[in-house]
């Protein structure tokens, strides 16, 4: 076992997940490739979405990969940080919107 849970070198080994289950891995990687190809959204927009999601799920592999990918697709530093703020706003908002539930409960059980 590694001495740490995350090793940057493991990112390059992502494809090796097929070793234990090739059929599902193939389906996943085919789907993955299709998702990120140019469509109604540009591949740059998709990369920025992926960067934002990477921060929301706090996946270091994904942050590493989609920082490089966003740069390769021409995104600016400002666009990338705005994407991270979108992630932060949704995560923060998700906590805060539950404040309404708390308020409802407070109002119900207090005079």
């Amino acid at each position: 076992m590694n001495s740490t849970y995350y090793d940057p070198a493991d990112l390059k080994k992502f494809g090796e997940i097929e070793e234990f289950q090739p059929d599902l891995a193939k389906k996943f990687f085919d789907y993955y490739g299709d998702v990120f190809s140019e469509g109604e959204l540009t591949s740059r927009e998709k990369s920025l979405i992926a960067l934002a999601v990477s921060h929301a799920i706090q996946c270091p592999y994904c942050i590493d990969a989609y920082t490089s990918d966003s740069l390769e697709k021409g995104a600016s530093e400002g666009q990338m940080m705005e994407a991270v703020h979108v992630s932060a706003a949704i995560r923060g908002g998700a906590s805060l919107v539950h404040g309404v539930q708390m308020m409802n409960k407070v109002k119900k059980i207090t005079m």
Partner: protein, 346 residues
């Protein structure tokens, strides 16, 4: 910033770069092995379509990624005598495309004379203009009109549509001056009238590969038009090759290993078939011949059985049967969508 040569930096020497890439910090497999896997070794030329002349290492900029190690402190420039020898070869072999590069080729005192000579031969002339040279001195202010008069295709570097990314690679205020120069080129018709081609070059400003050429072109066009009212024709994506100043950057920033691994992992067999060295002849400022501009900077002169290695004594037939010289740096031209002086190759 001084050039590596001026700094007497170890990487200013081509042997040191080759040793670094091929021995001391070799990351495999070798380019030769990759070519051999698809039956492309030894790599052979197709037909010489582009005659690329490096008019010198002198430049008004000192870009961090420059594979030429060009700059204001470099004084090596092509003489008129060498230009005459080039013109003789262009004439006698009926070459159709001449690509003038540098440094800043416009700084060579015989630049305009050479362009007019080429123009009278009716060849297609490409000038790799760094844009800021147009504003660098009043004597260069009329370059847009000069380019137009001689029907030149202008190819200019602009690594990003933001100042921060461009200036990080090319120097302080380069973005602002480049936009000004682009406007001057637009004003005389470049990028706007169909026959006056203004193409931009995108080199990644860091240790990453270029993205999709068409998608980047679309983004650049939208951004440059909406923010600066600048027009251009095509965007060429060019991968940075791990030599000279860019190799120094990779080393200094701790990115060398990951970058080489990325180049190798994204090796594209189709791009390997289309590498520019197969249809280009590169002429150094001193008249020596190379398979490409990158081999030129590594001082890897062409090797043939019966031809000399200088423009004064070449035998075109022998050139056609030569083996193209290769090295680990060549992975830069075969990564992803491929890379050449004309952009992606697939």
């Amino acid at each position: 910033m001084a050039s590596l040569a001026k700094q007497q930096h170890p990487l200013a020497r081509s042997e040191a770069q080759i040793n670094f890439l091929e021995k001391d910090c070799f990351i495999g497999p070798s380019f030769k092995e990759k070519l051999a896997e698809q039956g492309l070794f030894p790599l052979k030329p197709t037909e010489i379509e582009i005659f690329q002349m490096n008019l010198g290492k002198m430049c008004n900029q000192t870009c961090r990624h420059c594979h030429v190690d060009a700059g204001p402190d470099r004084k090596e420039i092509m003489t008129q005598e060498t230009m005459l020898q080039c013109l003789d070869q262009i004439k006698s072999h009926g070459l159709k495309v001449v690509d003038l590069t540098g440094g800043a080729p416009e700084m060579n005192p015989y630049f305009r004379w050479l362009v007019e000579e080429l123009s009278s031969l009716g060849v297609h002339i490409i000038v790799r203009c760094n844009l800021t040279i147009i504003l660098a001195n009043p004597k260069f202010h009329d370059l847009p009109q000069f380019f137009k008069t001689n029907n030149i295709e202008v190819i200019s570097s602009l690594p990003h549509f933001t100042a921060v990314r461009t200036n990080a690679q090319r120097g302080s205020q380069v973005f602002e001056k480049s936009i000004q120069a682009l406007k001057l080129l637009n004003k005389v018709g470049y990028g706007r009238e169909p026959t006056y081609l203004l193409n931009l070059v995108y080199n990644p400003s860091g240790a990453f590969l270029p993205g999709d050429q068409l998608a980047l072109e679309k983004e650049f066009k939208t951004r440059l038009k909406s923010t600066y009212d600048v027009d251009f024709n095509q965007l060429f994506t060019i991968t940075n090759l791990p030599i000279s100043r860019y190799l120094d950057y990779l080393q200094q920033s701790g990115n060398y290993e990951a970058y080489m691994e990325n180049l190798i992992a994204t090796y594209n067999p189709t791009a390997a078939k289309n590498v520019m060295c197969r249809n280009t002849l590169s002429i150094g400022w001193d008249g020596y011949l190379y398979d490409c501009d990158f081999n030129q900077m590594l001082d890897m002169k062409i090797v043939t059985n019966n031809s000399g290695t200088h423009i004064s004594n070449i035998d075109f037939k022998s050139l056609q049967s030569r083996n193209i010289r290769i090295g680990q740096h060549c992975f830069g031209c075969t990564a992803g969508a491929g890379s050449s002086c004309g952009g992606a190759t697939t």
